[in-house]
């Protein structure tokens, strides 16, 4: 079952990524697309919460959610404009490479020790960003 969930997650995230490009190609009103994206997502997590019986939370969780919400909105807005100017294939890769930031944060703030895999991941992130930067430059983006 875990593998089925993983495949569903992979497909669902890909649908999200591709929705940026589709909305640009269809010349949709971005403010409407953003609103309905958040509306549908809020509806689904509301059902999820009700099914799991989680309807209340401590203040810290609510504050984190509200701050996160502002950042998510800004991130969606900025990425949508970037995806309209560049390629979705390379833009989505760059966006996902931001995973390096929480890894750096866990080393800095929570004093976690990175494993050799993490160091290799850091090195490959630099290589990937370098290649993607050269590709963007070559295409004149």
């Amino acid at each position: 079952m875990g593998y089925i969930y993983s495949i569903v997650a992979m497909t669902a995230y890909a649908v999200l990524g591709l929705s940026y490009k589709v909305s640009d190609r269809m010349k949709c009103d971005q403010s409407q697309v953003n609103f309905f994206l958040f509306l549908f997502a809020a509806g689904i997590v509301l059902i999820w919460g009700l099914v799991r019986g989680v309807t209340a939370a401590p203040g810290a969780a609510v504050i984190l959610g509200l701050v996160d919400g502002v950042i998510v909105f800004a991130s969606v807005l900025v990425f949508r404009r970037a995806a309209a100017l560049g390629r979705i294939s390379t833009s989505w890769t760059i966006l996902n490479l931001s995973l390096v930031i929480p890894v750096i944060a866990s080393v800095t703030f929570w004093h976690e020790v990175p494993s050799p895999r993490h160091y290799a991941g850091f090195a490959l992130t630099l290589v990937a960003v370098g290649f993607l930067g050269m590709d963007a430059g070559r295409e004149g983006e």
Binding site: G2, Y5, S6, I7, V8, A9, M10, A12, A14, V15, S19, K21, V22, S23, Q32, N34, F35, F36, L37, F38, L39, A41, I44, V45, L46, W48, V54, A57, A60, A61, G65, D68, G69, V70, F73, S75, R81, A82, L85, G86, I88, S89, W92, T93, I94, L95, N96, S98, L99, P102, R117, H118, L124, T125, V127, A128, F131, L132, M134, E141
Partner: protein
Amino acid sequence: MTYRRLIAAAFVLNGMLMVITQSIGKLHLTAYIPVVLFCVYGVGCVIGAIYMRRSGRAVQPWSVAIGAMGGIGTAVGLSTHMAAAAMLPGYIVFPMVSGGTLIIVALVGRFVFKEHIGPYGIAGIVAGACAIGLLSA
């Protein structure tokens, strides 16, 4: 704003988002994830409604459909990702989901949207998928 500046801003914002999400676990608030996510999307909904009202345009059916596509993608992706992470080891789930998504998006971009990806782009996507696999394991 240029593409490079926009994608750099998206990179930093997405990273900040992951740091805050990570802190949910550190603060032992994992049990309240549905409420946290409802707040996240609820805020987006409110800001989105303000933006939409300011644009003053009539609602387009395609915008609703594509918004729904993205909304279902993010909410279903997140909930099934979490469910998978509870059943399988992280070193399987995270590289599989992150790497797999990158590959699907790159292939659809190349073959459906006819994006030209040069040799540097292909090398970057492959290196990126491997890097994400290593960092998330």
